[in-house]
Each structure stands twice: as structure tokens, then as C-alpha cells.
């Protein structure tokens, strides 16, 4: 197939920032690099990377395109789904626009139904993600990983070898270790950087397409922060240490993290998709079956679409201890059923098993609740 190389017709109507990000993607496309667009941490990146593709995250977290999405989708649907669909429809996101194939998974109900409509105007392939982590589920997911490889081969007219995949497994494991090294800096007390700055690095790393260079860049950043910390360990005063968990936040995390940090707290750990959840587990490099190894690693991700979802509790348990967490803030998106329902069991676990306070915030990508968010976070931190 021919990969998409030309800019969209409405390019000239875009603002400078958007033009810039379109041009960055455009440059890559001129080098004949295909784009595989993804929505979820369940997407087995190594398979697409093995064919030399850029894996681009399409989860959108701006309310700009929600009105366009609401022409097709219900209003009381998760804002992430609406925003993403809206960007796809309007060609306002370079990664959406340049994606030669979009791969979704049957994660939450809202997303899997949205993919059906998305498939009407974009090339969409949906992987069947099981709802549990049983041996039968793993068997299915392993087959789905192989099917994805075959789909990519036929769609792009290429061949993906097991050696190529194995190489990418090693690269991605290095990325995971580097990211873990980075966010583990926040174990320091007092902290070496603000949670909002940590998040920018975590979130931004997904858009660094040279995965081989990424660990080195992150390591250099870690060294720099460590050196600065040695010079001035008290740059940030001691404050209650907060762990943030819940829905994928992307750019939408901003207002919540700022509300916590402007009111006397310090976000030291993100369990969400852009945080520990994405980097905590590695693919087993010693497993001779690369597909089984990949499937096992990805299926273990503790997202609320799984039932039961023990791995999220297991990860939270470890993070709360390792990062000396004083309180947990769960940020959920409106109408995200799985996370909103699971909030109760997370609250029980945090209050009863870990003996620390928990607060849930349900929000969206608008700025209309910033006043209330601030009051809520200030009161929560006063309570600590």
C-alpha cells in the first residue's frame, strides 16, 4: 500500500503550534515511515515497531473537537472517546491524519463501539482484548497478537520476522527500565521535581519515536536532576505525598495535578496509563515464543476493563509503599463506567488495607470545574 504523505487540505487554517506538529509528522512521512495509530497501553507496540513503523498515541484530551463528535456520538459518553473521534473526523490531529492504520482493542464498551464508526472513514483494525486475565484469555490474546502481525504484514505488504520482534522487545524493555528509573526519582524526600513536570516527561515520552535513543535521553535527564538535587535538595518543601490513579489523563491531567500542587500537596507517583501502568512490567526476553511473551506482558496490565482487576491493586499496593504515599487521588472521566465503578474497591483498598485517605474526582477536559477542584483538593490536603 501507499502510505499517506501529503498534508491535509485545511492545513493553512491551522494555528502555528498545530502547523508545527503537523510538519514534524510530515517530515517522518517523507522518510517513508508508516504510522500505526493506537489508543491504548494494551497495544503490543513491539509488533508494529518491528516493521519500522512509528507507533503514535491517538488518545485525545482536549474538548476542542467534542462538539463535532457529538454529531455522531451520545453526549453522555466519556470525553476521551468523544475527543479522539472528533479529532479523527476533523483532521486536526497530525497523528490521526497521518495514521496509515489505526488499531483499537475491545477495551471499554464506549471505545469498541466508537471504532465501528471510525472505521467508516479511517482504516481501522480492532484487536479482540479479553475481559479477564485467565489462561483461556491469554490463549486468545496470544492469537490476537499473531493476527495483528499478519494484519500489519498484509496491510503494509511487508514481512515481520521473530528476530525483528525480539530486537524490539529488548529496546522497549530498555525504555521501560529508563522510564522507571526516571519516575523512581520521586521516591526522594523532599522531591526533586514537581509532579506536573514529571508528568510532562512521562506523557511526552510516548511521542519520542526513536525508541533506541530514548533510554539514553531519559538517563541523561535523570543524571541532571540528581546533580541538581545534590546541590539543592530543598528546592521543594516537604509536602503530603500524593499518588494519582484512575483514567488515562493525557493532557487532561494538568488541571488536577495543578490543583493538588497549588494547594499544598505533591504528586509523586502516577499509576495511570501514562505512568507506572505502562512501564512497570517488562516482556520476558528469555521466552522463546515472542508472541506468548508479548501477550503475557500486555494482558497483565491492570486496567479497569478487566474483571477481576487484581493487578491494579497489586501495583497500587507496591507503589504506595515504595513512594511513601500519604494519600491517593483518583481522577476519573465522566461516564467512564469501568473506572467509576471500580473507584469503590480502590477506596476500600486504600482506606482499609493501606490505612491512608482517598479522594475521587470525576471530571472532563473542560475548565469549568477548576474552582471546585481547587476547593476539593485544598480540603483534602488540609485533612492530611
Amino acid at each position: 500500500m501507499q502510505i499517506k504523505k501529503e498534508l491535509p487540505e485545511i492545513f493553512n487554517d491551522f494555528g502555528e503550534m498545530r502547523k508545527k506538529s503537523f510538519m514534524a509528522a510530515y517530515e517522518l512521512k517523507q522518510k517513508d515511515i508508516p504510522f500505526v495509530g493506537t489508543f491504548c497501553t494494551y497495544f503490543p507496540q513491539e509488533i508494529a515497531l518491528a516493521m519500522g513503523a512509528c507507533v503514535v498515541g491517538l488518545c485525545s484530551t482536549s474538548d476542542e473537537t467534542i462538539p463535532d463528535a457529538e454529531k455522531d456520538l451520545p453526549r453522555n459518553l466519556c470525553p476521551l472517546i468523544k475527543s479522539s473521534y472528533g479529532f479523527a473526523k476533523t483532521d486536526k490531529c497530525p497523528y490521526f491524519y497521518f495514521s496509515d492504520l489505526i488499531v483499537g482493542e475491545t477495551t471499554c464498551d464506549g471505545k469498541k463501539k466508537m471504532y465501528e464508526y471510525l472505521g467508516e472513514f479511517k482504516p481501522v483494525y480492532t484487536m479482540e482484548l479479553p475481559n479477564s486475565q485467565s489462561p483461556i484469555a491469554l490463549e486468545l490474546w496470544t492469537k490476537e497478537v499473531i493476527k495483528l502481525k499478519e494484519k500489519l504484514e498484509s496491510h503494509f505488504g511487508t514481512t515481520i520476522t521473530e528476530d525483528d520482534i525480539r530486537k524490539q522487545i529488548r529496546i522497549m524493555n530498555k525504555v521501560r527500565r529508563a522510564m522507571k528509573e526516571f519516575y523512581s526519582l520521586m521516591k526522594l524526600e523532599p522531591v526533586p521535581l514537581l509532579g506536573q513536570d514529571m508528568f510532562k516527561v512521562l506523557y511526552g515520552s510516548a511521542y519520542k519515536f526513536d525508541k533506541e535513543a530514548l533510554p539514553g535521553e531519559i538517563h541523561a535527564l535523570v543524571e541532571k536532576i540528581k546533580a541538581e538535587y545534590e546541590q539543592n535538595p530543598n528546592k521543594y518543601p516537604k509536602a503530603p505525598r500524593i499518588l494519582v490513579t484512575g483514567c488515562p489523563l493525557g493532557g487532561g491531567a494538568d488541571k488536577c495535578v495543578k490543583a493538588i500542587e497549588a494547594n499544598g500537596g505533591h504528586v509523586v507517583c502516577f499509576e495511570n496509563c501514562s505512568g507506572a501502568k505502562s512501564f512497570d512490567r517488562e516482556v520476558d526476553e528469555s521466552n522463546p515464543d515472542v508472541y506468548a511473551a508479548i501477550a503475557e506482558r500486555y494482558l497483565s496490565i491492570g486496567c479497569s476493563v478487566m474483571t477481576p482487576n487484581r493487578n491494579r491493586i497489586e501495583l497500587l499496593d507496591r507503589l504506595i509503599d515504595e513512594f511513601h504515599i500519604d494519600a491517593v487521588v483518583e481522577v476519573t472521566l465522566q461516564a467512564c463506567h469501568t473506572y467509576n465503578v471500580e473507584a469503590l474497591s480502590i477506596k476500600r483498598f486504600v482506606n482499609e488495607k493501606k490505612g491512608i485517605p482517598y479522594m475521587a474526582i470525576e471530571t472532563d477536559y473542560s475548565t469549568s470545574d477548576i474552582g471546585q477542584l481547587n476547593t476539593r483538593m485544598a480540603a483534602f490536603i488540609e485533612m492530611l
Binding site: N351, P357, D369, Q372, T375, A379, E382, M383
Partner: protein, 253 residues
């Protein structure tokens, strides 16, 4: 020595002077379209040379630059309620534009809270709007609904409830029956909301509506837990602010 607590709410601005043992003066003003004016006016009417510390709270807490500290209404309501009645273990506050429930531990510290700040239903605003349609003054609500049979108000939304009441009036329904139905509606909703917290001990009911017995008794019947108020219920936030301020001064001394 006194401390001053000022609670800048969405509907009224309240202030109290505290001498370390009791509330020696109170003041209340409707919050105007310029809340900064209201909070400053109240501050000036209560402030004197013996005020050692001022704490502001409520949604307009940041508008009083001369305050020594700003504390959220959650913490202040809890502290104020615990001051007025140390036997309580939770606070339910129906404010002008939000509603909150706060859970306290045995040391009367806040351990959990929830807020409804997204919808006018379940707030004082709901009652305000409905009373306007009924052309009745909220001040006489207790006598107005006495001996009446509540009419079930089914709409959850303030705007829809408004049209539901308009059609009830058109059908010739009794205004007192409607008013009692409205009170049941808000108290039922508030109790469902508050029960999301694990309420066990006695409850203190604060906010402007707490001064009316019918709201207290209806809320109690839905919650099935003793609900207490105080003549100073409406000042709970301001009292909490003044008490916290007093403790700060004492600790500094």
C-alpha cells in the same frame, strides 16, 4: 483577645468573633453581586483592635486580603460543627450552591468528605427557586407546611422540578402540600448523597436551611440517624474558621 472567622458563601456572608470560649458576636449579610464588597463590609463591622487573627473561608475566601489564613469550607464546617456539638461524628451542609457531607473521627478531625458541586438540585438554590414560584417566604416555612400532606415531586433537575410545580399549581394543588413535597425531595436526595460516606455517629446539620425544624426532622427521618442543629448552625463555617484561628494564635504564643 479575639479571633475573627468569615465565611463568604454564595448566598450569604457570615462572620463571628470568638474569645476562646464562646462566640461573642455574629454578623450576616446577603452576598451581593460583588462578593468582595460583602466580605469587606462584614469584616469592617466585626473587626476591632483586639482581633489577633482572621481566617476566611467559603467560596469567596480569597477576596479578603487582610485575612491571616484561608481555609476551605470543608475543614471549617467540620470544626465549627464539632465546636457547637462535640458529640457529632459527621456534618451535612446544604449550602446555597453546593452540598457537602463530612465524616469526622473520634478526635473530630476530617477523615472523608464528599461534595455535590455540579448540580443545583440538592442545594439551597433548589429551595430558593421553588419558594419563588410558590410566592412564599422561606422564613415562614415551618408554619407554612404544618399539617400538610406532601405531594411527590419526581423531577431531579431544578429546571424540570420548576415546571412540574407550575403544572401542579395549574391543577390547583395546595401550595403547602407542594412545599412539603419539595422539602421531602431535597432531604431525600441529600440523605442518599450523604450515605455514600460510612455514616455511623450523630450528624450535625449546617447551612441556612438548618434553622428550620422541618428540614432537620425530614432529613433525620431519611437518614435514620440523630440529626442535630444549633441556633448558630448557619454560622458553622465562620465559627470553625474563628476556632482554627484561635488555636493557631495559642500555638504561636
Amino acid at each position: 483577645m479575639f479571633t475573627l472567622g468569615i465565611d463568604s458563601g454564595s448566598t450569604t456572608t457570615k462572620g463571628v468573633l470568638f474569645d476562646g470560649e464562646k462566640i461573642v458576636r455574629t454578623g450576616i449579610l446577603p452576598t451581593s453581586a460583588n462578593p468582595r464588597d460583602s466580605i469587606h463590609k462584614l469584616y469592617q463591622s466585626l473587626y476591632n483592635d483586639e482581633v489577633a487573627y482572621t481566617v476566611s473561608t467559603g467560596y469567596g475566601r480569597e477576596l479578603l486580603e487582610t485575612a491571616d489564613k484561608q481555609i476551605t469550607e470543608i475543614t471549617c464546617h467540620a470544626r465549627g460543627a464539632a465546636f457547637l456539638n462535640p458529640t457529632i461524628r459527621a456534618v451535612v451542609d446544604i449550602g446555597g450552591q453546593d452540598c457537602k457531607a463530612v465524616l469526622l473521627d473520634n478526635g473530630l478531625n476530617v477523615v472523608d468528605f464528599i461534595m455535590n458541586d455540579k448540580c443545583a438540585a440538592g442545594t439551597g438554590r433548589f429551595i430558593e427557586v421553588m419558594m419563588r414560584i410558590l410566592e412564599e417566604d422561606i422564613k415562614n416555612i415551618d408554619s407554612f407546611v404544618e399539617g400538610h400532606e406532601p405531594i411527590n415531586i419526581t423531577s431531579m433537575c431544578t429546571v424540570f422540578a420548576e415546571s412540574e410545580i407550575v403544572s401542579l399549581l395549574a391543577k390547583g394543588a395546595d401550595k403547602g402540600d407542594i412545599a412539603l413535597g419539595i422539602i421531602n425531595s431535597i432531604c431525600r436526595r441529600t440523605s442518599f448523597f450523604a450515605q455514600k460516606l460510612n455514616l455511623t455517629g450523630d450528624i450535625f446539620f449546617s447551612g441556612g436551611l438548618a434553622q428550620f425544624e422541618i428540614f432537620r426532622s425530614t432529613l433525620e427521618s431519611y437518614l435514620k440517624i440523630p440529626v442535630h442543629t444549633s441556633p448558630l448552625s448557619q454560622y458553622a463555617g465562620a465559627i470553625g474558621a474563628a476556632v482554627i484561628g484561635y488555636n493557631k494564635v495559642k500555638r504561636q504564643a
